[in-house]
């Protein structure tokens, strides 16, 4: 096998078929970038799930002065702001239930600090005092699914304003992310399918335009491998270039979209770092090269028979 001869054949093939080659490269790049993005989004959602699961799951908010006057239906604030003994009774009930892993008690003052920290630009901040905040219990459950039992147990106790399932709060976010993931996977699947078709067609055109060469090769006894290799190598080469472009797109996406936009807009979410991005790159390279080589190989089986 003479590498130099094979390389020159590949070069001739790529140049002869330049427009198709460009189409394949772009198509491969887009589908691989999508594949990479979908994988990274998956990582991101997993990350966030883990992050939130390790945090508080249920919050019990106690009545404050405002709640008494507002008298929201379903709350038990008619008896005035929650008192120390009322809060102690709730805590005792929770501890007895055996469902609770950990209770973090937060006073009105602490909640004010948290509010200030998390939303420093909120226009309400100037008017809010500690008395306007609620005291709360942040509860970590042994089993995050047992929210209903906790809610039933302490929801009606005196001094309790609301019991909130944090997962319920996060549900829309996770639903959105899950939806985005489904969309990303679907578009990726379609793009990969289109790319496959494009590779098949390109190889077919390439094989057809070099029918004379391959016919002579077969006549003089070139092995199947030797006849097919330049075509497969062409497809693989286009895939490598496409994968490189896709890696570039992912890095640009991570740098511009995540680091310089999203993470500044949404401070609550802990975004993925560069590690997963670099892990995804070799993966999409393997997917791209494997996919187009296999597509090329299967096409050639049909069009370059001995």
């Amino acid at each position: 096998m003479r590498a130099q001869f094979v390389m020159s054949e590949i070069g001739v093939g790529l140049r002869r078929n330049l427009t198709m080659t460009i189409a394949v490269i772009v198509s491969v790049a887009l589908s691989l970038a999508l594949a990479g993005a979908a994988i990274l989004l998956n990582d991101q959602v997993g990350n966030m799930r883990g992050y939130w699961d390790s945090k508080v799951e249920v919050s019990v908010y106690f009545c404050n002065k405002t709640d008494v006057t507002a008298n929201i239906p379903g709350s038990n604030c008619a008896g005035g702001p929650a008192t120390g003994p009322q809060m102690a009774a709730v805590q005792a009930t929770l501890e007895k239930s055996g469902l609770v892993d950990q209770i973090y008690s937060e006073t009105q003052e602490q909640n004010l600090q948290i509010f200030k920290q998390e939303q420093p630009n909120n226009p309400l901040l100037a008017d809010v005092t500690a008395a306007g905040m609620e005291s709360s219990f942040m509860i970590k459950l042994k089993d995050p699914q047992k929210y209903d039992e906790i809610s039933g147990m302490v929801g009606g106790m005196p001094g309790v304003n609301t019991v909130q399932d944090q997962n319920e709060v996060l549900k829309p976010l996770f639903n959105l992310l899950n939806g985005a993931q489904v969309v990303a996977w679907t578009i990726m699947a379609i793009m990969l399918g289109v790319t496959m078709l494009l590779v098949v067609n390109t190889v077919r055109v390439s094989a057809f335009s070099r029918k004379r060469e391959t016919g002579i090769m077969r006549l003089v006894g070139a092995s199947n491998f030797y006849v097919q290799m330049p075509f497969i190598a062409e497809a693989a080469f286009a895939a490598v270039v496409g994968a490189a472009l896709a890696s570039g797109m992912l890095m640009a996406g991570k740098y511009l979209l995540v680091d310089h936009f999203l993470s500044k807009q949404i401070s609550l979410i802990n975004f993925i770092g560069w590690g997963p991005v670099f892990q995804v790159m070799p993966l999409i390279l393997v997917i791209g090269v494997g996919m187009s080589s296999i597509a090329a190989f299967l096409t050639l089986r049909k069009y370059l028979r001995v």
């Binding site: 003479r2 002579i216 006549l219 003089v220 006894g221 006849v227 001995v306």
Partner: protein
């Protein structure tokens, strides 16, 4: 060299077999003409020898091998021991004469030093030593066919198959090609040539195999194109 045992070939969706129960043997070193009108089965015969087709029934042996038992990946090895020449030359128009011949060696992985040695030798043999750097388009039909023969012969095959090699040539060039094939035959290479060219067959007085509608109707040593009526 070539043996057909009761070989029949029917193509899909065809009622009449292209070859019908043909048995014959061609010995090493023979020069054989395969004649017959269009549709007589000449091309099918050659395609079976090259193993581009497989027989429907019967056995084809080429170079001592039963082609039915030859696995696909061994076919290229077998074809390296055959040379093939066609009516339409089948040269690569964007390569020079020398590169066309070298191509046959490159694609079977021969080294550059071997190629540089044997290409001029074989071009000398076919009388084109001075045309190595020319493009096929600059050559006459006869010269192009010589290049094709050089390419077929550069591996020193045991068997040379020629499918109407003079079909596109004027009588004068045809004679030149026949002289060349005769010389190649004298080096010990078996030559099997399908042709319509009555004059050539009559002149050469070699073995003639005639096919008609798939049947072997004549196998005559030192024969002529048609029966003398």
């Amino acid at each position: 060299m070539i043996r057909f045992d009761n070989v029949s070939k029917t193509y899909p969706k065809q009622n009449r077999p292209a070859l019908d129960n043909v048995s014959l043997e061609i010995e090493k070193g023979e020069f054989v003409f395969l004649v017959g009108s269009s549709g007589s089965g000449k091309s099918t015969f050659l395609r079976l020898v090259l193993r581009e087709e497989r027989p429907s029934t019967g056995e084809v042996h080429v170079l001592g091998k039963d082609l039915a038992k030859l696995s696909n990946w061994k076919v290229p090895q077998m074809r390296r021991q055959l040379g093939t020449v066609f009516q339409d030359f089948r040269l690569l128009p964007n390569k020079t004469v020398g590169q066309n011949v070298a191509f046959a060696l490159e694609v079977i992985g021969k080294s550059k030093s071997v190629i540089n040695k044997v290409v001029p030798e074989v071009l000398e043999l076919v009388g084109l030593a001075d045309k190595q750097g020319r493009m096929p388009g600059e050559l006459s039909g006869g010269e192009q066919q010589r290049v094709a023969i050089a390419r077929a012969f550069v591996n020193r095959p045991m068997l040379l198959i020629a499918d109407e090699p003079t079909g596109n040539l004027d009588p004068q060039n045809s004679v030149g090609i026949m002289k060349l094939l005769h010389r190649i035959n004298q080096t010990g290479t078996t030559v099997l040539m399908a042709t319509h060219d009555q004059e050539i067959v009559d002149q050469m007085r070699k073995r003639v195999i005639e096919l008609d509608k798939g049947h072997l109707v004549r196998d005559q040593s030192r024969g002529v194109y048609g029966y003398q009526h």
